[in-house]
Symmetry: C2
Subunit: 113 residues, 2 copies
């Protein structure tokens, strides 16, 4: 089956898609922005730029960072960060389910060569 | 309302999204690959590469080209080209409709600042 991926556009420079959502998910599971950046093969700076873009879009932080402490700092998703991830994944599932038969019909246009 | 855009992934280097579909639509309306490329602010070569990628994916041409003739050549969509455009747009509409309320809920997470 073909795989559907989505981007949601809230206006100029206000877009979220699979890359940003996966970054948030990696931060949620690893508790670290640098580990998440590494997992996605991007620089820490690029990861941080994407986070700041999302913070600006939603008007509040999606990622909470802590400096120092016994573990030497860390990061976790805020409530809105978790909500954005969950809603994006729901939208993705809903869209894929609704379009399922049309996607199959499109795939059927591929001629076996 | 936020705008949903889709990409459909049939495998490595086998992807279609809004850019390729819009290119096909421009070819359909203008009857010319170079006019379509110009309308999308891309080189003729890039447009042609995208067309070839789609031809390979579907195993047959999506665009029919004519050389010479009174109009000096031209291009038109083949039946499969028209079907691919129509199905993609239907998938887009179906997905956006199904995800409508979830998209509104996501938009509601944007804090008025």
């Amino acid at each position: 089956m073909p795989v559907l991926s989505l981007r949601i556009d809230f206006g100029p420079k206000k877009r979220i898609g699979p890359g940003k959502i996966r970054l948030l998910e990696h931060i949620g599971t690893s508790g670290s922005i640098s580990a998440a950046a590494r997992a996605m093969d991007m620089s820490y700076k690029h990861a941080w730029d994407l986070i700041e873009e999302m913070n600006r879009l939603f008007g509040r932080p999606l990622v909470h960072t802590q400096t120092g402490g016994r573990e030497g700092g860390g990061a976790r998703l805020t409530a809105v960060g978790r909500t954005v991830v969950a809603r994006f994944r729901t939208i993705e599932r809903t869209a894929a389910k609704a379009a399922h038969s049309e996607l199959e019909a499109l795939e059927a246009e591929i001629s076996p060569t």
